[in-house]
Every structure is written in C-alpha cells, then in structure tokens.
C-alpha cells in the first residue's frame, strides 16, 4: 500500500509547453473529429482528440519521448529500460530509436506475439520473463542495476506527465474553448497532464477523469483524499488496470481534476462500437472510457462544448469483433 510522498516532484504548465516544443515533428499532431450522431445523442457539441491515430497507436509516445529526451548524455549512452506489456513498451522502444538510445523492454513471455513483434520492430531489446517465477519489477530492477540502465516509468514521472499533457494542449489549440473535458485514467499521467493544460487554456473547464468500474482506485482516492488501491481488476480496459495513482500524479489529480467517474465494461463496448461503426475509428477499450461516460450518460453535458480524449487504438481486431458479438452488436 503506497503512501503519498510529500516531496514528489510536481509539474507545471510550462513543463507541458516545453514538452510540446520537443515533440514537434516527432509525435503526430493528431486530428480532432466530430460526429453529428454523437452530438444529437448527447445534446452537446463534442470534439474527440484522436490519439489512437498517434504513432504507435496511443498517446504514450509523447511522455516516453519527452522523458528519454531529458536524460543526461551519460544516461542516454547507457540506455533505458521499462516494463510494460502495453502501449508504453512501444513508446519507449520508438523513443529510444528516435533519440539513438538503446531501449530494453521487460515483457511477460506469454505477451501477444503482435506486441512482441511491434516492440522489437522499433529496435528495442525484449527480455521476457516467466510470471510464475519472478515479477517484472524484480527482473527490471535487476537488469537496470546490472547494466546501469535508467528506468522510464509509464506514468509516475514529471517528464512523462508533461509529455502526456501535450494531448490537452493540442486539443485546446485545435478545438478552442471547452466547457468540459473527459480523460481516461489508469495511473493518472494523461489525466493530470491534460488537466494542467485545461487549467492554462480554459480555467473554468470542468475536467473529469474516467475509470472502469472494476478498477476504481483513482475515483475512490479522489473522493476520499487518501490513496486507494485495486489489485488486478477484472475489466476489458487493460490500460487502466494500474493498481494506484502515482506519487507524482495523485497530488496533481487532487489539485487539478474536478471529478472522477466510472463506467461499466458494457458501456465501454457500446462506446467502442459506435466509434468503430459510425466514426470509423479503431479504438481500444481503455481509449473509449471518456466516450463511454458521455454516451452512457454517466456525465451530462447538454448544451456544452465537450472535449473527449481517445487515448489509443491497440486492440486485437478479432478480440474486438468477439466483444461486439458477445454484446449483441453486429
């Protein structure tokens, strides 16, 4: 059980702006999209920020690249390491390639072949482990010490948060003023970064974090003011299965986010289906959290201008088709 670290480094909007300059020409300036169907359904004017169309298929390259770029020359020469079976793995692999820094990624040996291949395709070294005999943290730390590598964590780092905040920065630049902003929440990196951007561009914008109902640690933490945990929650939103908010992200969420809500896996599948079928966007379950809160009317936004971040699109196509079928969606 973690306890808040009072002297954890914080992040300010200036850090987001600096990250945006570093990411210029590296990350895509992803498009924003609108849908009359969604507007008619919600009574709101909704602008989707499409980070599923980002390089590597998710926003993670922003924070990963920003963090690796800020290492010292000596740290860069020795290389970086991370453990992830998700979007952060590909982000660090690509950031390493772009910056000429060797990247080592610790992944479970039963990770999907497509993810192993994609990560290896960016030139990273993959070290697999047997989840029955060791943990990725133990193995990762052992390798980091042995080789002198710098660990780049997936969310709990100021440079990662600042990088993810550029999603919100771009959205306000592209969409103009917003009354409300919906952002998915796993470890809180994207959420706290976007909240920082919202406070800068639109101080009155209501920022809402969205979690899967089974993985509601951040929602409980937000409402109680005490950091809460979940253990391996049963949800299709695999990017939001993180056990607790970070030392860096928890204080930022408390300071800059206005509310936290949760949505069911059923609502996630329905939102995904609408995004795929009507908006022609391949979106992963975690990426549909914000849209689901709006479409399932967990959040009401009538007559408002609402921004919704679509965080990623890395989902096995066959698995998505099976989810749609299991929920009676053609």
């Amino acid at each position: 059980m973690p306890s808040p670290v009072p002297d954890a480094p914080s992040v300010a909007y200036d850090d987001v702006a600096a990250a945006a300059r570093r990411l210029d020409g590296v990350a895509h300036r992803t498009p924003v999209m609108t849908s009359r169907t969604v507007n008619d359904h919600t009574g709101a004017e909704v602008v989707f920020k499409c980070e599923n169309l980002q390089r590597t298929g998710a926003f993670k390259i922003r924070g990963g690249y920003n963090a690796v770029s800020q290492l010292s020359d000596d740290e860069k020469a020795r290389g970086v390491i991370t453990y992830s079976s998700g979007n952060h793995a590909q982000a660090i692999a690509l950031a390493g390639r772009e910056l000429g820094v060797d990247a080592t990624i610790v992944m479970p040996e039963d990770a999907p072949q497509v993810k192993l291949d994609a990560t290896r395709g960016y030139g990273a070294e993959i070290v697999t482990y047997d989840p029955d005999t060791t943990t990725r943290e133990t193995l990762g730390q052992d390798i980091a010490e042995e080789r002198g590598l710098t660990l780049v964590p997936p969310y709990d780092h100021p440079d990662v948060v600042a990088g993810q905040g550029t999603v919100g920065d771009e959205l306000f630049d592209q969409a103009g003023p917003l009354d409300r902003l919906l952002v998915c929440c796993g470890g809180g990196g994207l959420l706290s970064g976007c909240a920082l951007a919202a406070r800068h561009h639109a101080p009155d914008c209501t920022v809402i974090g969205v979690e899967p109902a089974a993985g509601d640690d951040a929602t409980r933490s937000f409402h109680s003011g005490e950091r809460q945990t979940v253990e391996n929650p049963d949800t299709i939103a695999d990017g939001a299965r993180t056990p607790y908010l970070g030392d860096v992200t928890f204080p930022l969420v408390l300071d800059y986010v206005d509310d936290m809500v949760t949505v069911s896996d059923g609502a996630l599948v329905r939102a995904m289906h609408l995004l795929w079928e009507r908006m022609k966007l391949v979106v992963e379950p975690t990426g549909a959290l914000g849209a689901a809160a709006l479409l399932d009317e967990v959040v009401s936004a009538e007559d408002e201008r609402v921004g919704v971040v679509i965080s990623g699109g890395n989902v096995d196509l066959g698995r998505a088709a099976a989810l749609f079928e299991a929920h009676g969606l053609a």
Copy 2:
C-alpha cells in the same frame, strides 16, 4: 452495352473549385494521415486522404450535395430520387436533409437493416423492391415520373464529378505537391474528379485509377479506348461493381488519368488489415483499392511523394473480421 455520348457535358477544374465553396461547412475537411510503416514498406512518402472519416462514412456526400444544391427551386420543391444500396443512398438522404429537399431512395428489400436504418435516419423515404420481380431502374423511373422527382445518379453527372473532385482539391492543399495519386474506380466519378484536381494543382502528377481484378471494365476501357463492361463482378469491393464508366466520366478518365491497374481481393484484405491494425482506420474493401495497389507493389513509387485516397469505411464489422480470419490475419 453503352456507347460514348459525344455531347455529354464535361467538367472543368473551375467546377471543382465551385463545388468546394458550396461544400464548405457541409462536408468535413477530412484529415490526411501518414504511416512510417507504410513508408518503410514502400520506400515512398505516402499521404492518405481519409474519406472514410467523411460524413456518412464516404466521399459520396460531396458529389451528392453539390448536385442537389444546383437544382432549380422548382426541382428542389418536387424532390429527388436515387437508387443505391450503397454509400450514395446515404449521401443523397443527407444532402436532401441539409438542403430541405425531400429524398426518395430505392433500395432492394433485402438490403442490410443497418443501411436501411442509416438512410432512414437522415430523413429519406425508402422504397423497397423485390429484385426478383422488378429492377431498381424501372421502379425508380416509374416513381420519378409519377411524382416529378429529379434523379441524382451516383457518378455520371457533371455536378457529382465536380463534388467528388474536391477530395483531390483538399488533398493537394493539405499535402502539397505529389508525384503520384492513386484513386479507386467504380463508375469513375471520384477518379475523374480527382484527376481534374491533380491536373490543376500538379500537372506532372501521375494519376492512377485502381479497380478490383474481377471488375476491370474501366481498366480494359482505358487501355482499349472503347468502353467495356462487366456484369455483377465477384469481388468484395462492392463499391466498384459498377458495370461500366459513364458518359460523363469515360471521356474524363481517357483525358486526365495516366494509367489504370487492378488488384486481387486478397491484396484488398491485406491492405484493409494494415489500415485497421496499424493506422487504426476502419476502411471498407473498396476504400482500400488505392492502398492495395501500392502495398501489393502493383504500382511502384519508390522515392516518390504519393497520395492515396481512402474512399470510405462503411463495412459490417463482423464481415470485416471474418474476411481477416479467412485470410489468416489475426
């Protein structure tokens, strides 16, 4: 078997520019996207124009709206009719709603419910027919005469061609100079309109039309100079099953297009899968024709800047998943 009509009305770039002004604020200015994976694979710098992200999920709203907008007040008051079970049906339904013109769509009674619902959702009147007892042309003409409706054809009309040409117009504006442009070809409306735009913006750009191998009427027509036909070709590219180029489009294709090529259905499925999995775009088989020609190396474009039009994304998600599985793609 049709014969070219020597005095068929032609279309010039000025008509495309005028259509662009009419479509401002009506059609989405769809994003262009790039993919390092595609660039690495082809050795080219490829820019995709994403008309799957257009309203109604396909480019057809451009030509449909432009054509309906140019009717006389009297014609508008009486209403329009078309026959289509595809993207043109939804385009005319939406164009009618936007312009306050009653739209009647003739569709087979066994059309997919989702298409009937979507078309009806735009406020159009749907008249279904039994394909065993009548043809859509006969029924459509009967209703048109009886009610005094104006027929808006799917491609063979100068205002439709001019509207579709705005796809190319926007692409050159967004992407800058291109060495090569790949456009799918059914009846030739999109292809000839985009070729007009290419000639205006980049006279040296090589414009290539792409058809499914089974529906190669336009390719044979282009190479022979005589209009050729196909009858109900067996291809998954349902938007390119048109029997022959039109009176308006055939001369334009001969004048402005540089080459025509075909791709197999297998190449289409592989291209679709890459667009879905790597670029997170839901693309229908017809919409992947241009990408397939490039990825399957039917067209070589090494060291070139290449534009590829993705024409639409209206495909049943379950059917797409089945196609991927049948071709051994996860």
